[in-house]
């Protein structure tokens, strides 16, 4: 049954004056959020408007320099590609996790999680070894008689490296939605005349979309702020916004400009999410569960 059919909690359950209690329990989390997210964010906004002097000169600078806009656009393009690659790789993997027995599933989950336990720098460096011009991939290609391809310091290389790092964030939400899909619905679809592929596209895929959306949002947003991987795998033509921020803040000590870049990225992300929300909001989100 859906949540909408559950009886609404009678108001009498909450005694007057005690309504704050659940909030009291979340106080540690709320304080932490305010301290480590709210305050720095506030500072960034403030400094973007106040350094070196009060005004919007940092934003004027950002939108006045074509290179900034190119990098901003590239940041979104690369993140979109990473998201697409993650969906394509994660979907069959997550499905496999729902289809196998508990033992194999444990192995599959470990395969997803083990990279998590390895530092991002180490993983990125191993991609350098694999992708560089004299690296493993190119050596194998030359052995097989092909020309080598340029992977390191290209957008392709950055997308590959980031997708690998972010893949678990796509697989896990996708799996949690997929394991709730009643596979008997596929049998029902077949009894009604749908060949298996048709049953997949008309029943399974639509029911798994909430998982795709959830994973895609996480991956996309994390990708927007990626720093290490694009810095190590990318070249000047694949710089992402985070690298520019780092240059402004740490190399040039331009806190105001760096802050303005951060704010622009944040606002643009919110706008994009707001545009995507109506597509993702669907009335069957709670449905399809066993």
């Amino acid at each position: 049954m859906s949540a909408s059919e559950l009886p609404t909690q009678p108001a009498a359950d909450v005694r007057p004056g005690r309504a704050w209690r659940p909030f009291a329990l979340t106080a540690p989390a709320l304080i932490l959020l305010v301290a480590v997210i709210g305050y720095p964010l506030f500072t960034i906004v403030l400094r973007s408007l106040s350094e070196p002097e009060w005004g919007v000169q940092n934003y004027v600078w950002f939108f006045g320099a074509p290179i900034n806009l190119t990098v901003l656009q590239r940041t979104f393009t690369i993140s979109a590609w990473v998201t697409i690659v993650c969906v394509i790789c994660a979907y069959p993997y997550a499905y496999l996790m729902t289809a196998v027995g508990p033992r194999v599933r444990l192995v599959l989950v470990l395969c997803v999680l083990i990279p998590f336990w390895v530092s991002g720098v180490v993983r990125t460096l191993s991609w350098v070894i694999l992708l560089q011009d004299s690296g493993v991939i190119n050596s194998l290609l030359r052995l097989a008689g092909f020309d080598g391809i340029r992977l390191i310091r290209t957008q392709t290389g950055v997308v590959i490296g980031m997708a690998q790092v972010l893949l678990p964030f796509m697989i896990l939400p996708l799996y949690s939605v997929m394991k709730g899909i009643d596979l008997r619905l596929m049998r029902a679809a077949q009894s009604l005349g749908a060949r298996p592929s048709r049953a997949f596209f008309t029943v399974y895929l639509p029911l798994s979309l909430p998982g795709v959306y959830a994973g895609a949002i996480i991956v996309f947003i994390l990708a927007l702020g990626f720093y290490i991987t694009p810095a190590l795998l990318g070249g000047p033509r694949s710089t992402m916004l985070s690298t520019l921020v780092q240059t402004q803040v740490l190399s040039l000590l331009q806190w105001g400009r760096g802050g303005a870049m951060g704010v622009v990225l944040l606002v643009t992300t919110f706008v994009l999410l707001a545009l995507a929300a109506p597509v993702m909001r669907s009335r069957y989100r709670e449905a399809g569960r066993r």
Partner: protein
Amino acid sequence: MKPAQQSKGAAIDLESVSKAYGGFKALDGVSLRIEPGEFMTLLGPSGSGKTTTLNVVAGFTDLTSGKLLVGGKNVVGVPAHKRNIGVVFQHYALFPHMSVGRNVAYPLTLRGVDQATRQARVARALDMVKMGDFAHRYPSELSGGQQQRVALARAIVFDPPLLLMDEPLGALDKKLREWLQLEIKRIHRELGTTFVYVTHDQEEALVLSDRIAVFNRGRIEQVGTGRQLYDEPATLFVGRFIGDSTVLRGEARSDGTSTALTIAGETVTASTRINGDARPVMLLRPEKLAIRRPGQSAADGANRLSGTIAEAIYLGSESKYEVKLADGSAAIVRSPLTGESFGLGEPVELCFHGADAKLLADDSTADTTLT
């Protein structure tokens, strides 16, 4: 059995169908002919093979050996989506992301039916299950009974010659179940389609079916109308599964025409005998047994067994007594409220006519396989 008058339904022939999972035989040489337009119920305890049979017919399960014909055509190896058979599941299996209308339209969309025809047929199917006003609702907004009616509409909207139902009312409460049973009966009459219905509820089987096939341990024990199964059970299992019954076991002596059973010193006779070496037991229906106070005169030729009242249950229109016999076994008796009433622990005599006792071969598994 229902005659096949201008029926739109398909006949089904199962010929020694077997299905093995490793060493376990889920179906062990099942043969069954279902007539066009017939309402056939597959009845049995869980694990008896009734659902496996349904899945084999639907095409969800491959058979290990045997033949399966639907409408005279061999369908072994034909995938489920090409069989054109309607299936109603216990768990409804409505598509949660589609409205009721789109759920019911789904099989028509797959068949390329144009939109105008589709709408008309969806409306007709929903009207038939009395869900015409719900086309724009979503399954999550419906109760279990409503969801199952939509599932039924979806399974009949494409006019399949055969409708399979796998415990469709199993998840519903008693009142709703009884009402939907009558609805299903009405729809069967209106459609003229062959219905195959799986249930473990013998009352439901008696209400709905033209004929019932009783399954036990991968085999069919008996096929017949409800009345045949109740009055003339072929095996002890069938006798115990359909309706209430009392089983008398004792030392048996048989002459040419009758059999005598000695139970804890008292002897009763049945006016039949069974062939073969099997140990005979007597099966008695509760309404064939009468209770008397000891010493009261009984009809001539009636068998008597002494016992004590172990349980007295008031059922509204009648009373049900459990009588403990001298050998420790229990007998079930129904008696009309107009008769005498008896108190707990009261010594009584059970009387029955030898002609009313069914003599069956003993089967020690008949008791244990009952749930």
